[in-house]
Symmetry: C3
Subunit: 253 residues, 3 copies
C-alpha cells in the first residue's frame, strides 16, 4: 500500500460493468435499474457484456487490458460467475487507481491489487436474493453502496489477495473482424524471428496491417498490447480456423 497517497478515490466516481450476460436478455438492464435506484446520478459505463458465457479467462483479459483507459476511482463490477448459487465467495479489491467487485473465481488474478475483502454483509443485498442472479441482487447493490460512500471495511472481513496462476499464452477471443487476440504480451515476441500458433509460424511480429500484402496473414501488436493474428483486409479466424485456447509461442528459428 506504500506511503504515497492513493489515486483510488474513497468513493467510486464511475461504475464500469463487465459481464458475460450479452445484451439481448434483460439482465444488464435489471442491474442498471438497481444502480439507477440506489446510486442515481453515478455514471455507468459498459466495458463489455460480450465475454463468452462463463469464460473467466477472457473476462480477466478484457478487464486487465482495459484498466489503463478508465478514470481513477472507477469501480469495476465484474460478473462472470459460473459458480453463482454455490458457496463461492464474492470479493471486493482495490489497486492504486481502481476498485473491483468480482466472484472469487480467478477474474481478479494478475491485477496489481493492494487490498481485498470478502463481501459478506448480507444487509447490502436486495431484500430477496435469487440463487441465479447475484449481479443484480448482490453486486449491483454493493456497488451502489460503495458509490454512496460505504466504507469498504463494512463489506466484510479482509481476504488474502487473489494470486495469479501461470498459464500458457493462448488465443483468448476472436474479435468481430476475425482477429485472433492472444494474451501473450507483445514485448515477449518482439525481435523474435517467428510467432507461432499451434506450432505454425506466421513470421516475425509486425507493426501494422499494411506491413503485409492484402489478404495475407500476419502476427502483430494488437489493440490490447498483446500478440494478435490477423489477415489484412480479411478474417484470420475464418481463413485459418483459429479459436480460443490455441497456444501461441514466439522464438528464433
Amino acid at each position: 500500500m506504500g506511503t504515497k497517497p492513493s489515486r483510488a478515490r474513497r468513493h467510486p466516481l464511475t461504475l464500469a460493468l463487465l459481464t458475460d450476460f450479452g445484451l439481448a436478455d434483460p439482465y444488464v438492464g435489471q442491474m442498471k435499474g438497481v444502480l439507477a435506484s440506489r446510486a442515481p446520478g453515478v455514471p455507468v459505463v459498459d466495458l463489455s457484456h460480450g465475454v463468452p458465457p462463463q469464460d473467466i479467462r477472457c473476462g480477466r483479459f478484457f478487464l486487465r487490458a482495459s484498466l489503463p483507459f478508465f478514470p481513477d476511482g472507477t469501480l469495476f463490477v465484474c460478473v462472470v460467475d459460473p459458480g453463482v448459487g454455490t458457496s463461492r465467495r464474492i470479493l471486493w479489491a482495490r489497486s492504486d487507481r481502481h476498485s473491483f467487485l468480482a466472484p472469487d473465481n480467478g477474474l481478479l488474478e494478475g491485477l496489481p491489487l493492494c487490498e481485498c475483502r470478502e463481501v459478506a454483509n448480507e444487509k447490502l443485498s436486495l431484500p430477496v436474493v435469487s440463487s441465479t442472479f447475484h449481479g443484480r441482487d448482490v453486486f449491483a447493490p454493493a456497488a451502489a453502496a460503495l458509490a454512496g460512500g460505504l466504507a469498504p471495511a463494512k463489506l466484510g472481513p479482509a481476504h488474502p489477495l487473489p494470486q495469479g496462476k501461470d498459464e500458457e499464452p493462448a488465443i483468448v477471443f476472436i474479435d468481430r473482424f476475425g482477429n485472433a487476440v492472444t494474451d501473450l504480451p507483445a514485448e515477449k515476441a518482439m525481435g523474435r524471428t517467428s510467432v507461432r500458433l499451434e506450432g505454425k509460424s506466421y513470421g516475425p511480429l509486425r507493426r501494422t496491417y499494411s506491413d503485409v500484402g492484402e489478404g495475407r496473414p500476419l502476427a502483430l501488436v494488437g489493440s490490447f498490447g498483446t500478440v494478435e493474428f490477423a489477415v489484412r483486409g480479411g478474417s484470420f479466424a475464418e481463413s485459418f480456423g483459429a479459436r480460443p485456447g490455441q497456444k501461441v509461442t514466439a522464438g528464433n528459428d
Copy 2:
C-alpha cells in the same frame, strides 16, 4: 388510485427503453438522439432491446419482471409494435410507482395500472411522422414531453385499463446461457413433485444449480421469480431442443 400518496412522480425522472429493435441497426440510437434533443439531462436506461422481433408476450414478460428493480418515477418506453402504420392506438398508463408508453397491443396487460390515456395529441410528435418508426417519431418525443413536465391529461383522452388475458404458462425466451425461462410463477410449482415441459417431468422445483450434478437438467426458481429449465454447467435449450411456446405445468404424480 386510493388515497395514499402515489410514489409515481409527477415528472418521470428516468426513462427506461424496452424494444425489439436490437442494437445493430441505428433505430435505438435515433430514439436516443430525439431524447437527447428534447429531454437533455434526463437519464436513459436500456432495459432491453433484445425482445425477439414483434414478440409481444416476451416484451410483456421482460417489462413485468423488471419493474421491481427500477426507481420510482421511471417512465418505461415500450416499443414492440407489429401494428405500426395501422390504426392501433398508443397508450400512456401509470401504476403506483411507474408510468408507461406502449402500443395498445397487449404489452401492458397484467400490470397493476391505475390510470390510462390514449396518446392522441399529434402536436407532441416530430414534425414528420413516418409510418414505420413511431418509436422515434411519436414515443420518444412524448416521453421527452412527459419528462419535461407535460401533464398526462394533455396526451389525450382517458382510456379503459388494458385487461389481462389468461394464457397457458410457457417458455417465453431462451437466455444467453441456454436456460429456458417460463412465465409460470415459481410459487405455483413449489412443493409439487414434478415440473413438466410439454409433459416431460424434470423432477421437483430446485433452489439452485448445484442441487443437481454437473451436466444434469433441472427446473429451478429463476432470475425472474418464475420456473426456469436449466442444465448445470450446460445449455438446456441445446440439450433438450427447448423453444419459446412450449408449455410448462407443475403437479403431484
Copy 3:
C-alpha cells in the same frame, strides 16, 4: 458559412458514437473509458456500433440519415476505419448544426459541411498510440479535447471539404426485421408506377405496410426517408434473398 449565427456550438455538448466495432468486444467500452477519463460528465450517445465491418457506405448512410434526430452541437465520432495503421488522414469537419470526426475514407461524403481540418496534432492522442485502434487512441481523446473547449484550429491544418461521388442507389443494409433498406431517396420513387430491385418490380411506392395483404411484399417509404423493401408480417430479405449492394430503380412502365 454565411452570416447568420451557426447553431453548431463552440463546444460539443453531446458525443454520438458510430462504429463498426459491434458490442461483444471491449472496443467501444475502452473508447468510453477514455471519454469518461478525459471528458467526464459529457453525455455520450450510441448511434450505432452495428455498421457491418469496414462498410463505409453503410456507415455514411447511418450517419446522414440520423443527423436530423440529434441535438445541435453534437459531435459525431465516426470510426469505420479499414485504413487504420496506413497513412490515411483523420478529419474533423462541421456543418451548420453538428461536427464530425472520421477517417478520410468517404464516411463524411454527402454531408452539408462548411469547414474541414486534418487532425494532425499528435499531442492530443493517448501517450501510446496503437496501429490498430485509433478510435480509442486518437479519436476519443480528440473528441474529449473538443468537448473540453479546444479550438478546432488546434487540431491541424485546414483541409478541402470531402466531395461526394455519385453511386447507383442500392440496398445498404438489411435490418433486424428483414427489411431491405436502400439509399434511394423516397421522393425519387414517388408517383412512379414501379419500384424495382435488380430489375424486378414490386409495384408503386406504398405508404405503409397495411397497404398490402399479410405476407405480401412491398416497396415503401422507410424509416430513413428512403425506399425500403418489406414483407408485411414477414422478412423480405429471407423471402427474396435480398442483400446489400443490390440495385434499386424507380420508373414508369
